[in-house]
Symmetry: C2
């Protein structure tokens, strides 16, 4: 098997890519300037050395603690709890949240052998015993596991700290279509309906 086939195989293993798209990417690399492949190779080579986990919040960062954790301009009374480091990037992209983060590193999933002890819940509780923290927004995914984890985390925080615990709203996605909304989403968006005009 030659380098090209090996490269196609390696690319096809990446999430969201199959053999066809991997082939297309590999041939594109070959047809383009050598420097493009070299640059990507260099970035991949140094990736694990330059990007580490923030010892406070668990995000990926080049410096420890991460720029968010050390930014005195942010709202240091609020912590947003997410499953994965990439969720931090998604929240940041919304430009709506200006507080701190805490990455759990996954969700409670007994079938996959992931219990509360495998997640960064203890360190979250410890962070929330600091008097400056007022609110924890739980932003785990709206899935069975995400909801279970949210409930568990909320319970731990309520038992051990004085922070207010909230959860991201569920409802119709912006630009969505009522006709195509699933039953559960529609039910949750009804239950969580907000008043118009008078508040």
């Amino acid at each position: 098997m030659n380098t090209l086939d090996l490269l196609i195989r390696a690319i096809a293993r990446l999430p969201g890519l199959g053999r066809k798209s991997a082939t297309r990417i590999a041939y594109h690399m070959l047809a383009s300037d050598r420097s493009e492949a070299q640059r990507l190779a260099e970035l991949l080579h140094t990736l694990h050395d330059s990007i580490i986990r923030c010892s406070v919040c668990g995000s990926f960062t080049e410096d420890d603690p991460c720029p968010v954790c050390t930014d005195s301009g942010r709202d240091r009374a609020t912590i947003c709890v997410v499953e994965h480091p990439q969720d931090v990037a998604a929240m940041e992209a919304s430009n709506e949240y200006h507080g701190l983060y805490h990455v759990l590193g996954g969700v409670i999933a007994p079938i996959e052998g992931v219990g509360p002890g495998d997640l960064a819940i203890g360190s979250l509780v410890r962070r929330c015993t600091e008097p400056e923290i007022h609110e924890v927004i739980i932003a785990t995914n709206p899935t069975v596991e995400g909801d279970t984890t949210a409930l568990y985390v909320a319970q731990q925080l309520e038992n051990n700290t004085n922070v207010a615990v909230t959860r991201l709203a569920l409802g119709l996605p912006v630009g969505g279509d009522l006709e195509y909304a699933d039953r559960l989403t529609l039910a949750r968006s009804l239950r969580g309906r907000t008043s118009l005009g008078r508040d």
Copy 2:
């Protein structure tokens, strides 16, 4: 901008990938074992040194001439003409063709400034003056440029050699749906209809 952002940018420039899928891939890399990123880096690093163009047919190969051009077990009387090296891989995957190849390196596209002189047409004509070549199958894409190029190549071969020139059949794709077939494809599949049962 840190390594992670640079990596996401570099991946997002690849064909078929956008910022979201690039982000997903980059975080997957970070979350997986370091060896996976290292292996991909190594393959990309050596890609342009280990894969070259075959001096006979123009395919990508590790050895020159390529394994297809030197394989005495293949049908050496037929040459299949394709636009790009990846088309050779597609033809090979069909398991139906056992002859030789010739990669043009593109199509005639005056708007993009690509004329016949920029394609490997001269070398194809030279190959076809060899008495062992009997047939040239033109397998350029069924697009305006692909058809123009096919006609031009056919003319060159007819003027300068004695080979028979054929073109891949046009028609409905296997597993396709008449209802969703476009007008032109349907027209071509009608014009090229084949007899059933009696031949």
